[in-house]
């Protein structure tokens, strides 16, 4: 039984969704996003996954970024926020996610 392989596939398919959901809640920066995801082993990911993913979402126009100067010993942080395009994308993803959950529930017979 190789559950790890399946788990990594789930992670790959849902990480983008989770990051956009996080950013929608509140503008956030890379380290904070990684730390939040870290609380949930199923979607926890390292820097070498999250940063390139953020960069791709940025290039595709789903999120925007802005540097905020650090005060009182805090380093400057690059904050990401959801764009209108991102909102739309996220809404469409949410619909599909609901479809998936409904399908699974129905097949399970619940």
């Amino acid at each position: 039984m190789n559950i790890d392989d399946w788990k990594s596939q789930i992670k790959r398919g849902t990480l983008e969704f989770c990051i956009l959901l996080l950013i929608k809640q509140e503008s956030s920066y890379g380290y904070e996003i990684i730390s939040t995801l870290d609380k949930y082993p199923i979607i926890a990911a390292k820097e070498n996954t999250i940063y390139p993913l953020l960069r791709r979402l940025l290039k595709e126009g789903y999120i925007s970024s802005s540097w905020r100067e650090g005060t009182e010993g805090l380093p400057p942080r690059k904050y990401y926020s959801l764009t209108d395009n991102g909102e739309e994308y996220l809404a469409a993803m949410s619909v599909e996610w609901e479809n998936l959950l409904n399908a699974i529930n129905e097949i399970k017979g619940e």
Binding site: Y29, E47, N48, P52, W67, G70, G73, L74, R77, K78
Partner: protein, 191 residues
């Protein structure tokens, strides 16, 4: 905040592997990683633990590049045909537009400036009777049918000069506009 040598080395190393990415983006990537390093330092994470967490600088850099490669190698017929159409059009129009405007713009500008200056030289020669050599070759010649007074010639050369100068400037602006438009379209098509 003090950056330890190991962390600076890490960033420099990473930057080396990010070479295929444009400078401005590269700096942004490095700054973002640097920001996380400082964040971790502030939380009391040791230098070794930070480096351990981020992994090999080469691998981290490659993760960014991976995205770049997979995006650019994506081949589509649509994009290919668009590129063909674009370059055919640019090639043909460029063959005519660029050399024409490129020749017209500077010569018209130079002539536009030269005409009134020469007219002025003749006018000064006429007023002060200086007998400057070769001045008899300057003037408006209509095959000997009409001969103008140097004052009239100067006024005509001034008007014509201004008109030619503006035409030259116009041609130059068109040329710049044309080139800008092409490079903008090319980058939009990302070809």
């Amino acid at each position: 905040m003090i950056m330890e040598k190991e962390l600076n080395d890490y960033l420099e190393n990473m930057e080396k592997y990010l070479k295929p990415i444009p400078v401005s983006e590269r700096i942004d990537i490095i700054n973002e990683i640097k920001s996380e390093m400082q964040e971790l330092q502030r939380n009391g994470v040791t230098t070794e633990a930070i480096i351990d967490r981020l992994g090999n600088p080469k691998d981290l850099a490659k993760a960014y590049l991976g995205d770049l490669i997979s995006k650019e190698s994506g081949f589509s017929w649509n994009r290919f045909l668009m590129a063909c159409a674009f370059y055919s059009l640019v090639g043909f129009s460029g063959m005519v537009v660029i050399p024409c405007l490129g020749v017209i713009a500077p010569t018209f500008i130079v002539c536009g400036i030269a005409a009134p200056i020469l007219g002025a030289v003749k006018l000064i020669d006429y007023i002060f009777t200086l007998n400057i050599p070769y001045v008899e070759n300057i003037g408006i010649f209509l095959g000997g049918i009409v001969e103008f007074n140097p004052i009239v010639e100067f006024i005509i050369s001034l008007i014509v000069g201004i008109l030619i100068y503006w035409a030259g400037r116009g041609a130059w602006k068109l040329l710049v506009l044309y080139c800008k438009k092409i490079s903008k379209t090319a980058s939009k098509l990302s070809i």
